[in-house]
Symmetry: C2
Subunit: 113 residues, 2 copies
DNA sequence: TCTAGGTACTTGGCAAGTCTATGTATGACC
DNA sequence: GGTCATACATAGACTTGCCAAGTACCTAGA
């Protein structure tokens, strides 16, 4: 045997899920919009493909952190699946931001700022 | 098709590899020492099990970012496999820290600091 | 002497997340 | 009619992270 007892989650897995939670905290959004908004607001620094975002949204929904609903788009564009943070999602966001902050500080310490 | 051309790596992939590179930049280290040092210097915020660190070291070596060498331990303790950053490793560290910094800023912007 | 615990590395295998690529469908524009 | 943008979906590959277990040796203590 080896390795002591481990504690909380190690981040870096589901980090993108946290970002999505952060966006949904502002307002309800749909997948395609999230991709665009992420790219826009980070000036391309974070550029997640649809193949990452859609599964992430389904994950969040499956885990009860967000709930989705269909909205017919104006005109006759493709309908959109909007997602809304649940209360559990708000809580997970708070916890996740805490973890993120601790991780950031720790990583910076290791990397020499 | 969709989603424009993607650019560099998205970080959060190989983030732990970056931390290891950061440690090796200070001085040559061996696996068990890295586990302990990471835990110590981050006050437990980053606590990687051996099952994560040893494979990571092998990965770095396979990719030419670090080179390993055996050292007989003083006394008659188990021998240690030390790792040293290669030039490519130093370069990858610099690039990785750049990416990390950009990611951090972008993520904080999304999360509202 | 027997046991426990620390050091140190290794490996198998699963679970999960990410990304590429591709597909569907629609409407707008030229 | 062809192209582009919107919008969602998913299969499959790849990578990572981690648990769990094992090997081997040494020291300390009962």
């Amino acid at each position: 045997m080896s390795a002591s007892t481990r504690s909380g989650p190690q981040l870096s897995r589901g980090e993108f899920g946290l970002l999505v939670l952060g966006l949904l905290h502002r307002r309800d959004m749909y997948g395609y919009e999230i991709v665009a908004e992420l790219r826009r607001s980070t000036e391309g620094a974070i550029d997640l493909p649809e193949g990452t975002v859609y599964p992430a949204l389904r994950r969040l929904e499956r885990e009860g952190l967000a709930s989705g609903y269909w909205v017919e788009a104006p005109g006759a564009a493709p309908r959109r699946r909007y997602y809304k943070l649940t209360q559990a999602g708000e809580h997970a966001l708070a916890t996740g931001m805490d973890d993120w902050h601790r991780f950031k500080v720790a990583a910076d310490a290791v990397l020499g700022q």
